[in-house]
Structure formats: structure tokens, C-alpha cells
Homo-oligomer: 352 residues x 2
């Protein structure tokens, strides 16, 4: 284990000053002869500039942070793959953290990133606007993916979420301003949910339920909007993020409202729970209950019956978010809304 060559070693071996080496290696001006010599020596010494020195000097770490709720959720796996693909092609390191959907863990992780001087972050947020404002004020460039943080004041949480959606859709709203002025890459949840609800309606379903998770206020609201008033709030339930809680929510829903004939699951973990709960209660899909799941994951096709899904481009979402956070050269990039697609397989049938 011999120690690595430093810029000083290269400078001495090449008979030039360290500044010259630095310039040559970062594409600065230098005479052809000098450049050639430095490059040769550097290669010969197998010199690799240390990110440590550079980072300290520039008071910032290259690369980016990446915060997701759960890596065993296939959708977030896809999202991460997208981020990593972009980062790799840029040669940038990615510091990852899994929040478990818990604002506290999220805050801890943010603290860790701050300590590391990571000043670019892609996050699927769990905390609300109050937890994120300080981060932005600290000078971090953040891009949200998949969803946005909730407005913190308990009062108009709903109003803000709606306003937010409208803003993303390019509609003007007389509602409160968006909670945070941060670019985001999200799927067009509104259209996705609307399409699913219309599809189910077309099949004759009247009592359609929504099975949501934490941080899915957008989708819940989109659902409320899609079914139209009056909304049967008993048909709108949420788990807390874990597989167990998702199962409990699904099971509770099926038992308390045996009259429902269709359910829209807000994510693949929730869809999984719905299938399990239905089976446990001897409800046949789609005979007794129709199911549409958010997220297209490989196993949706293996299910019995294969699941009809609202597909959203997880990988693209990650890639785009990484692009945004990387290209954030001063100018604040605009948010991106990605299309969803209803993929009809076998989990929905006519209402009977």
C-alpha cells in the first residue's frame, strides 16, 4: 500500500510548478510542450488528482446527494438507477440515503450531507416545507423527484397541495403560493389518476376506493378531483409507508366497505398489499374487486391476474432530476412533468 502521487510529485518530476500542473489537468492554458510533458509524467506516475484537496479549496463537494424513502420499493430502485446513470456519465459521485419515509431520519441525513458539504440534492421528500426551507437557505441546490413536500401549516395543507398541482399543470390559481420554489420532476399524477378513474367508471364501477401512502397528497387530491364531489371519504385511506401498514389499510378498507367494487392503489407497495389483503379475504380480482396500481413494475405482469397499472417512468424521472441538479448553473431550472400511461392487463373487470 504505497501512497498516491500528489500534484507536487508531478510538478517536481516534470520540472514545473504545481500551478502549471493544475492548469494543464483542468484544461487551462499552457504551451504545447509543457502540456505534453506534464501529461506524460502524470500518466507515468499514475497520478489521480485528489478530490479532497480540490473540494476543500472550493469549499464544496462535487457530486450529489440522493434521498429516497425505501430501496426495496421497486419504483425507487428505478428512480435511483436513473440518477446513477446520469451521475456516472458525468463522473460524479452520489451519496445515497434511505429515509424510510420518516422526516426525522430525513433531517438526520440532510445534516450528514451538509456536514459533507454536498450542495446538490435530489430528494423524494418526506418532511414538509418547514423542514426543507432551512436546507434551501443553507444554499443547497435541491431538485425534488416523484413528489413535493407538503405545506407545513396544518390549516391549508390541502389547498396548497391543490394549488401546487395546478401550478405544475400550468394553471394559474388564486390559492396560496406554492410551498417551496424548488424545481421538481414528477409524474402527471392528475392525468394518471383521472385516466384510471375514467377507465373504471367506464367499466361500470361506482364505488371506487383510493389506497394511498404517506406523501401521496397529490394523488389523493387528484383522486378526489377525478371522482368528483361528493367524495365518499371512507373510501380514501392511507397507510404509513411500511408494508405492514399498507396491508392493514387495505384489509381495513375491504372489510369496512364491502360495497366497494374497485380500488386504485397509489404505489406498488400499496398494490401489493391490496392483492394480498383481497386474497386473504377471499375477494377475487377482478371478479369481486377491480384493481389499478400506480407504478409499472416487472412483477405486475406475473401477478394473477396480471395487474392493470398506471405506469410512470421511474428511470427517466431520476435521470432528468440528476440532469437538473447538475445543470443548475445559477439559473433555476423549470420543473418537469412526465407523462403516465394506463397499461391495461387483467385486474379490472366490469362491475357486477
Amino acid at each position: 500500500m504505497e501512497k498516491r502521487a500528489t500534484i507536487k510529485d508531478v510538478a517536481e518530476a516534470a520540472g514545473v510548478g504545481v500551478a502549471t500542473v493544475s492548469r494543464v489537468l483542468s484544461g487551462g492554458s499552457a504551451s504545447a510542450a509543457t502540456r505534453e510533458r506534464v501529461l506524460a509524467v502524470a500518466a507515468q506516475l499514475d497520478y489521480r488528482p485528489s478530490a479532497l484537496g480540490r473540494n476543500l479549496r472550493q469549499r464544496r463537494t462535487g457530486g450529489m446527494g440522493l434521498l429516497v424513502p425505501d430501496l426495496t420499493d421497486t419504483f425507487y430502485g428505478q428512480l435511483c438507477e436513473g440518477v446513477l446513470a446520469c451521475a456516472r456519465s458525468a463522473g460524479e459521485p452520489v451519496v445515497i440515503g434511505s429515509t424510510g419515509g420518516d422526516p426525522e431520519q430525513e433531517a438526520d441525513l440532510i445534516g450528514m450531507l451538509l456536514e459533507q458539504s454536498v450542495d446538490r440534492l435530489i430528494a423524494v421528500p418526506s418532511g414538509d416545507a418547514d423542514t426543507w426551507s432551512p436546507v434551501l437557505r443553507a444554499g443547497m441546490t435541491v431538485v425534488f423527484a416523484d413528489r413535493l413536500p407538503l405545506q407545513s401549516s396544518p390549516e391549508d395543507v390541502r389547498a396548497a397541495a391543490v394549488a401546487d398541482l395546478m401550478a405544475l399543470d400550468g394553471l394559474s390559481a388564486a390559492a396560496p403560493a406554492r410551498p417551496l420554489d424548488v424545481p421538481a420532476v414528477v409524474a402527471d399524477d392528475r392525468a394518471g389518476i383521472r385516466t384510471a378513474v375514467r377507465y373504471l367508471r367506464g367499466l361500470g364501477h361506482k364505488r371506487i376506493a383510493f389506497l394511498g401512502g404517506p406523501g401521496q397528497e397529490h394523488r389523493v387530491n387528484a383522486f378526489r378531483e377525478a371522482v368528483g364531489a361528493p367524495v365518499d371519504e371512507e373510501l380514501v385511506v392511507s397507510g404509513t409507508g411500511s408494508r405492514d401498514s399498507a396491508y392493514a389499510a387495505a384489509s381495513g378498507l375491504f372489510q369496512s366497505r364491502p360495497d366497494l367494487s374497485a380500488v386504485v392503489a397509489g404505489g406498488n407497495v400499496l398494490g401489493e398489499a391490496a392483492v394480498l389483503a383481497a386474497r386473504e379475504l377471499d375477494l377475487r380480482v377482478p371478479r369481486d374487486v377491480s384493481l389499478v396500481m400506480y407504478d409499472d413494475v416487472p412483477w405486475a405482469e406475473l401477478c394473477a391476474p396480471p395487474l392493470t397499472v398506471i405506469a410512470q417512468p421511474g428511470r427517466d424521472m431520476g435521470y432528468r432530476a440528476a440532469e437538473l441538479v447538475l445543470r443548475a448553473g445559477g439559473r433555476r431550472p423549470r420543473s418537469v412533468v412526465l407523462p403516465t400511461e394506463l397499461i391495461i392487463r387483467g385486474s379490472c373487470g366490469p362491475h357486477r
Copy 2:
């Protein structure tokens, strides 16, 4: 965006030297009075020590690197969650990379980590011993997870793999030495595969196939050993890692050997491919073909029929690996072999 307080700011505000602040904050000796004052000032200034300065000074980055083949493979998602859980409780950052199972990308990512002075690494290796030796020589503390790198010399790849397994099992072998002297956390593939094969044999199956992926030499060899000589090599096939190639391999297998009655898939992506291919060819599971899949993933239960699996503790594997790489205080930690469990569900039936 105001700049962060530095140790110097704290020192001045507290009327002490920077060294004292450093000591207090890292638990060194200091008088109660001084300690209290420094702590108060630090809190008041919201001081967070910069990892940049510390890292440069210590010529190493804290935290660890994590290299996996594919984050959309649920098993690796589980493994990562384990690593992250351990890292989080230690307050250490994790730099992640997805290799796509490609040795070249792996090498690139290793280079990136070296540049960042990340000197601890947990890896599910894709490259062979030749690509890993330099990494070790560079002074990195590495712990392999899930599998070990292959011996590079084409000749005795198989022998080495076998020797390796035996070494892990604590057996002495007259075969070539283990390729690399690196601690690893792996599942007891040998026992897992053996159990699965015996189970299938007990069901009356004679022609059992193995559907492997890249880097699964251990499992392939365990399979060969479990079925015993003579091995029908046509029944041992491998994909290259992508879902497409896994599907092609599975499909090819079913078509070329319609006489097979059971298949063991070496991982969940391969299992998925097997289910898909079987369905496409109108082979019913388990009527026409029985299937045992490596990895217990949530969706295994949702499959029709629910999949019988060889479960391995992905999360534990990651957690243990992180512990090893963190605790690697000079002493080289011993490898860990985690148990597997055959979980019988509905994808295996009697041979007919």
C-alpha cells in the same frame, strides 16, 4: 445563503484556541468549564464541523462505497437497505454505484471512489480477481457481499470457485488458494441449492435445470454438486444479467429441453424470466414444470402460483457487510456465511 461558521469562528467567540475546540468536539480532554463554554458557543453559532477539512487532514474520506449490479433487482435493494441502516446508525455517508454487472463500469466506479479517497468499500463484484487485486493493493478495505470475484486465469476458474466454497465452509482444500484474501458476507448457497434440489428430487423430478446469471458460479457449482455426476450440461444455462437475456435463456432452455420437469432459478430476476417464459410457451407451473427461485421477494407470494423460494437474508447481508467494513480496525475480519431457508409455496409439484 450565509456561509457556515468555521472552527476558527467558534474559537474566537469562545476565547480559546482552535485546537481546544477541536478537542472538545471530538471528545478530547478539556476542563469542564472550557468544554461547556465551547459547546455553548458552538451550538449558538450552529457550528457544524466540515468533513472537508477533516478528510483532507486525515487523507481519507469517512464513510464507505457501495457497488451493486442493479438497484431494480429487489434483492440488491434489500442488501442496500441493510448497508444504509448500518451506515446511518454510524453517521457515515455512503457513496453508491450501480455497475450493471459490467466489469468496465465497475472499474470506472472504483476509479471514482479512489479519486474521492473513499477507502472502504462494500461490493457485489462483477469483475474478476485481476480487477480487484489493484484495489486491495491501493489500500482499500473491501468486503464482498453476495458473491466473490472469479479467479481470473481462464483455466482453473472452476477449481478456484470450488476451493473458495470449501474454504468458506471451513473445509481444507488441496485446490488452488482462494483468489483473493478479502472478507465476504455471502449466503450458504451450497446448502440452499442442495436443499432445493433434494426437495425437487423428493417430488420425483429427475431432469432439473439451473438458470443462472453472471457471477453465479458458486451457485452453478453448488447445483452441479447437488445433482451429482453425471451433470447434464444442457440443463445448466446462464443469462448475462439483463432481464431480456434472462428471458432468452429461460425460453431457450424450455424449448431445447422439453423433457425437463423442474428448474432452479439462481435469482429473482431469473425467476421472473422463468415464469414469463413458461407462460409464453404455455407451460403450466407447477403442472408442467416446477420452479424454485433464489431470493425471497415480496412479489413471490403474489405470483400465480406463489413461488417456492430459497430465501436469503438480503438486508442482514448488507448490514453485516457494513459492520465488517466499518469495524475493520487493522485486523482483517473473518468472512460470514448466512443461512438460507427453503420456503415452500405453490410452484413445485410432483413429477408427472
